[in-house]
């Protein structure tokens, strides 16, 4: 599971439903202040039914001013968000193994009402989402100060261990009737000292670029065929 898929699972499908239009434009100062950081996370989905196997996934998260990048553990797939010189946000899916980027034109983002909340992109949770959870304990993880926050709805409970200085979760655990989904930070380092670095933006610029809108007319393209028919098959 991708990081974005996980966060959608936890927050996108009803636990919280926030949209903060326009916030992205007012956050560049905060963005500049936040630490450049490299993290490695693991996601585990544990079904309560013993008959079902749990699944485990690792991925990387990098943050620096104006850029967020993620990558699967095997380095095949990633995502990149960049703030452009005039405040637009450019989003691309990166298929490193195919040296191909699928772009979502900035022009189309308002069309889609994609809430590119830069704070949320940079820290995975925004302030409103955090505020909806009660602080139950102040603690330390990875030698950093953290807050344990908890929340509950009819169907699920959610627990977030929040790194207050880094503005990132050390863990997010969501439990409902069928399963628990856990996101855990396993490595954190300043970006300059990171063991694994994000893909170079110059290198990405040399990838083949495809506008996602054009997929419908690229049915014979081997790459498009592959991503439209094979990615993340559930059966």
């Amino acid at each position: 599971m991708k990081i974005s898929g996980f966060l959608k699972l936890v927050f996108g499908l009803g636990f919280f439903c926030f949209s903060i239009p326009g916030l992205a434009d007012s956050t560049s100062n905060i963005d500049q202040q936040w630490t450049e950081i490299a993290c490695r996370y693991e996601i585990e989905v544990i079904p309560h039914a013993k008959s079902k196997a749990s699944s485990n996934n690792a991925w990387f998260f990098w943050r620096k001013p104006g850029m967020i990048q993620t990558q699967d553990a095997d380095g095949r797939y990633g995502e990149i968000w960049e703030r452009t010189s005039n405040g637009s946000i450019q989003y691309r899916k990166l298929y490193h193994a195919d040296r191909t980027a699928v772009e979502y034109m900035p022009a189309d983002m308002p069309t889609n009402n994609i809430s590119f909340d830069w704070i949320k992109l940079s820290s995975m949770l925004n302030q409103q989402e955090l505020n909806a959870l009660n602080i139950v304990k102040k603690t330390q993880v990875f030698g950093r100060s953290a807050e344990l926050r908890k929340g509950k709805t009819d169907n699920q409970t959610i627990e977030v261990l929040w790194l207050t200085a880094d503005n990132l979760p050390a863990s997010i655990v969501k439990k409902d009737k069928t399963s628990s989904v856990e996101l855990r930070l396993v490595e954190i380092a300043p970006l300059s000292a990171a063991r694994k670095k994000p893909a170079d933006v110059e290198e990405i610029a040399n990838y083949r670029h495809i506008d996602a809108v054009d997929f419908g007319d690229m049915e014979n393209d081997p790459f498009v065929k592959k991503v439209m028919n094979a990615e993340e098959h559930h059966h």
């Binding site: 966060l7 069309t111 809430s115 809108v213 990615e231 993340e232």
Partner: protein, 563 residues
Amino acid sequence: MRNPITDVFFSDSQAYKEKHIMQLLKKLSVITVSSTLAACFVQAAEPTPENWFNAGHQAVIDAMHLNPNERHAKNVILFIGDGMGISTITASRIYDGQQKGGLGEENSLSFEKLPYLALSKTYSVDQQTPDSAPTMTAIVTGVKTIGDSVSVNQFVVHSEPSANLVNANKLTTILEQAKEHDLSVGVVSTARITHATPAATYAHTANRDWEGDSDLPAGATVADIAAQLVDFNINGGIDVALGGGRTRFIPKTATDPEYGVAGKRKDGRDLTAEWVNKHSNAQYVWNKAQFDAIDPNTTDHLLGLFEPSHVHYEADRVAHDKAGEPSLTEMTTKAIDILKKNSNGYFLMVEGGRIDHAHHSGNAYRALTDTQQLSAAVQAAMEKTNSEDTLIIVTADHSHVFTIGGYPQRGNPILGLTQGVGATEPDLDMLGLPYTTLNYANGTGYTGNSNLQPAGSKSFKSAAGAWTSGSEGHNPASFLSAVGRPLLNNALVQSPDYLQEVVIPLGAETHAAEDVAIFARGPKAHLFHGVMEQNVIYHVMAEALGFAEQHDAEEHDEAHEGN
């Protein structure tokens, strides 16, 4: 000819008028009732049997007075609704009519009033269901070719990198011929100006996706499509090119003026600057204010690129575009104003390029509103030209798997749930659930859980608050099987972002193979008749412009020389 719809207001029977007006009002929403009353009987109402009969008879009288225009055309304007199949036209006609306050079905889009009509067989040399590249090649060169090929013949293999091989097999386009005959030429699209449909008029390549130099494989000698547009050298170059696709015209080292994203050219060329430098009285514009400031009288070569990729859907254009961009109608009229200065005439191609994209996204609303805008552009062109000397053709390159089904009553909202004649509730399927009139046979509106949206109805927009982006439309990579059907309501299905249900889940809805319509007026328009191969469209244009006779004469000369 009197309008049978408004005739009811001229009827002698007051009771009849009242009855029909009340029936009409019942079908309108509360919101529209007040404005309808305010409009005081200019509102449409149903014709009487007598009206139907008379209007039908009048149509025959009109047809009898239809005189084929045998003259040569001075100008040709070719409109392409990309993916605008007949069901799209019908649904758009109804949508447009309902937007105007009528029941809808009686409405006509501008081009549906053109006197001549034929059906076009769209298959390509190797495809039962084609894409835009070979279909537009057929339309503008008179020759069918293989899928993904842009104005090269079927003997060039797909993705042929050799410029020599491409040149040896290139097909001359009507635009090139027009230029050779000293006409002015223009290309207008809401897609990238390098996209298959506009590209086929001026470029030759065996891969429609080679739009910029960074799209070409290493070692390819064939020029990218953007470069072919600006390097087009017949008789002073292309006169007008308006559309999207900016990033393939500017170098990697430059940033987009509107969004700040990087350009895509590896060769360092800034084709927008080259356009201005190489042409006489040339301008390049990228936003609406600059576009509006262009004086057609002093501008002879206009390049307008209004978005990094395709321009906005008409439904989103005004509300969402950062820098502002002109509508298809505004681009069309500006193009005509520049081109018409040439006393020899002009050839103009105008594409409603995003009807196709909306359908691929499974979103009927945007397909219908973009078709409505194409209709407005045709209307503007009809008003700016004379049918005595200007051939106007409106057609599609191919269709989509888009259907209008069920048994909705007259005036039922076209985007709404199907509700039968006299019914007070929507009709139910055999699971006891309501359903929409518009549906797709395949695509992204499948109601199983997708990797992007939960089980149930799908939306063009991603969920608010989701951490990741969605995409433009719903572009899933996978689906789970749907269980039954979702419970629909009219508010949901009539919202602009609703994706109509589909039978077969696919990552994108597909083109369809059935014939599309060709509408025409003006010189030689009567040569469109019956069911025709798509490549005949070129031959009618060539005949109208007098190129065909010249071609025949040349062949005759060659035969003589051979003797």
